[in-house]
């Protein structure tokens, strides 16, 4: 029936029509896509223009759409204006150390969970899932009381451990997925050659799982980099405070130096966005692995 409706004679014109329709559909999709993208970038575009606004143009009533000139030196003077550098160093220390701790505990655990079946395996998986579902926000009072008891309030160690403890799940899911995908025969062959389990993991499995390791590293680092609630609760001095908390400190001031607030924000956001894009492919599986698989 459908054959009779499509006479073979006028193919060229109907094909052209179909092509046109396809093109206009693509065009519409592209326009919608770019509108959506702009909408999502808007707060960051505004951030950038404010960061480049000369100080005397910040407080216009009503606001100007764009500054009359772009003050690139804001990105230089911001370092002198406030303890930004200190905040940045603190953030780097906390996020890096938390990432190292996460890798140290999650690599062996993920390996064992991926390779072996044992009695308490399900319970352990459940526990890992729980750490992912219970954000530190809901427990911040408990965390605070614990750190008071341990005398760890306002220390790097407290922030490192809390970040590591709550953000290890992603790493466990991603790594165990990678480890499980490596055929056991590969490891067996190495063991026959006299390698121990540890050296098999170190020399064969880990190098083969490099993308997983990189993903786990980047994700943990970024999550710790952006962490706010625990840092707000546990830090009381500039020497320990990370950037996220430091920035909110500017806002309470009488005259907020918005250009500096946003110059700092951009310094913190831009590298992280590129890192996130690099691991985009694996994000969903790491965040939902407790369920989809």
């Amino acid at each position: 029936m459908s054959i009779s409706e499509k006479p073979a004679a006028n193919t060229s014109s109907s094909r052209a029509k179909a092509k046109n329709r396809e093109l206009s559909k693509k065009g519409l999709l592209t326009i919608t896509g770019f509108a959506v993208a702009t909408l999502f970038l808007l707060p960051y575009i505004r951030m950038m223009f404010t960061a480049l606004t000369p100080k005397d143009e910040l407080y216009q009533i009503p606001a100007d759409y764009f500054p009359t000139r772009l003050e690139w030196s804001n990105f230089v003077t911001v370092w002198e204006s406030a303890p930004i550098l200190q905040y940045l160093i603190n953030t780097l220390i906390i996020a890096s150390a938390a990432t190292v701790v996460v890798l140290l505990v999650s690599v062996p655990a993920a390996y064992y969970l991926a390779r072996f079946r044992f009695r308490t395996r399900n319970l352990i998986l459940l526990l890992v899932l729980a750490t992912q579902m219970f954000a530190p926000t809901s427990m911040v009072i408990g965390i605070y009381r614990e750190m008071v008891a341990l005398g760890l309030v306002n220390t790097y160690l407290a922030l490192v451990l809390v970040n590591a403890g709550f953000y290890l799940a992603f790493s466990v899911w991603i790594l165990s997925g990678f480890f499980a995908s490596i055929p056991y025969e590969v490891e067996e062959a190495a063991m026959i050659d006299g390698c121990s389990k540890v050296s098999v993991l170190w020399r064969i499995t880990l190098p083969l799982s490099l993308p997983g390791l990189i993903t786990a590293t980047i994700f943990t680092f970024i999550t710790a980099w952006n962490e706010f609630v625990v840092a707000l609760t546990l830090t009381s001095s500039i020497e320990i405070r990370p950037l996220t908390v430091g920035i909110t400190g500017f806002i309470g001031l009488y005259e907020v130096q918005w250009h500096y607030v946003f110059a700092t924000s951009l310094i913190a956001i831009v590298p992280v966005v590129f890192l996130f894009i690099a691991i985009e492919k694996w994000l969903i599986s790491g965040l939902t692995a407790g369920s989809i698989k």
Partner: protein, 309 residues
């Protein structure tokens, strides 16, 4: 060779014990378990314990309080408002987020020039610190210097500048918008992942049967998205319930307590009003609510069945 030169028995037994220990799960799993125990489980215990202790404003424990903190909490005049606001906040944000995500995922699943750029743009709010995103919104919404008022004035939509964060009626909708804004990337990508698992032949078959685009979506795509939708919804529910930075930066729960959710109220009770006991009681309640979500999630996704994947 090995069998012909046996090691001394004592040494050998020692070695095999170490071997056996190394072969079992303990050395591999214990570091992680210790960390979880110390960082995730201990605070739960501390929270529960603190909620039944009498603690002075300066943090000194005065003794056992029984359920006194809970009684005080439920007598707190700001609690009821915060609870009903939390319900409203969570349901509105999640519903709007999921609805928009369905469209965005569909868009990103289509092929068009520049799709990669749109994907990357969507990742930005996800990667960026929520604190900083919320700060930018707060600046754009500033009553005096904010760009939004300028735009609205120029378009003639308002007569005079509005102090958006000045009252709950104008700030709450904006808090919801910002929460949706930061939630969209995750939910969209989860749904997109779901869309990409739908085999192309299914659509071919529907096309051959002459099904309209809408019918195809509602009778084929949507049912197949059930799992992803469920996951996106529950995780988003938990995240929105726990959302703290947006409210903290934009209104601080104020003016007064008029934009507080139970999460921000819990924080203010402990670190503004020095009511640690009451705050711990509220966090036990909050924790219980999240626990319910988590249990639903675990049951519905058949977590236990992962054993034989």
């Amino acid at each position: 060779m090995n069998t012909t030169t046996p090691a001394p028995p004592a040494k050998r037994r020692k070695k095999s014990l170490i071997r056996r220990f190394l072969a079992g799960p303990l050395p591999w799993i214990t570091p992680m378990l210790l960390l979880i125990l110390a960082i995730v489980l201990w605070p739960v215990y501390e929270m529960g314990r603190t909620s039944v202790l009498e603690i002075s404003g300066s943090g000194v424990t005065k003794g056992f309080a029984g359920l006194e903190n809970y009684r005080e909490l439920f007598d707190n005049p700001n609690l009821l408002g915060a609870i009903s606001r939390t319900f409203f906040w969570v349901i509105t944000v999640v519903a709007i987020t999921i609805f928009i995500s369905l469209f965005l995922a569909q868009l990103l699943n289509a092929k068009f020039p520049g799709r990669r750029f749109v994907r990357y743009a969507l990742i930005v709010p996800w990667a960026a610190s929520v604190i900083m995103t919320a700060t930018s919104f707060r600046w754009m919404l500033d009553g005096y210097y904010g760009i939004l008022n300028r735009i609205l004035l120029d378009l003639g939509l308002v007569e005079e500048a509005i102090d958006w964060m000045g009252s709950a009626e104008t700030s709450l909708p904006w808090l919801i918008i910002v929460a949706v804004f930061v939630s969209l990337p995750f939910t969209t990508f989860v749904i997109l992942a779901g869309l990409q698992t739908v085999p192309g032949e299914v659509y071919e078959a529907a096309k051959v049967d002459g099904a309209s685009a809408r019918k195809t979506y509602f009778s084929i795509t949507f049912p197949l998205l059930r799992t992803s939708l469920f996951i996106a919804t529950v995780i988003n529910l938990i995240n929105v319930f726990n959302q703290f930075p947006i409210i903290w930066v934009m209104t601080g729960g104020g003016p007064g307590y008029t934009t507080d959710t139970t999460t921000t109220l819990m924080y203010k009770l402990a670190f503004r009003s020095q009511e640690i006991g009451q705050s711990a009681a509220l966090s036990v309640v909050n924790f219980g609510i999240i626990l319910i979500f988590v249990l639903i999630y675990i049951r519905a996704t058949g977590f236990g069945k992962r054993e034989d994947r």
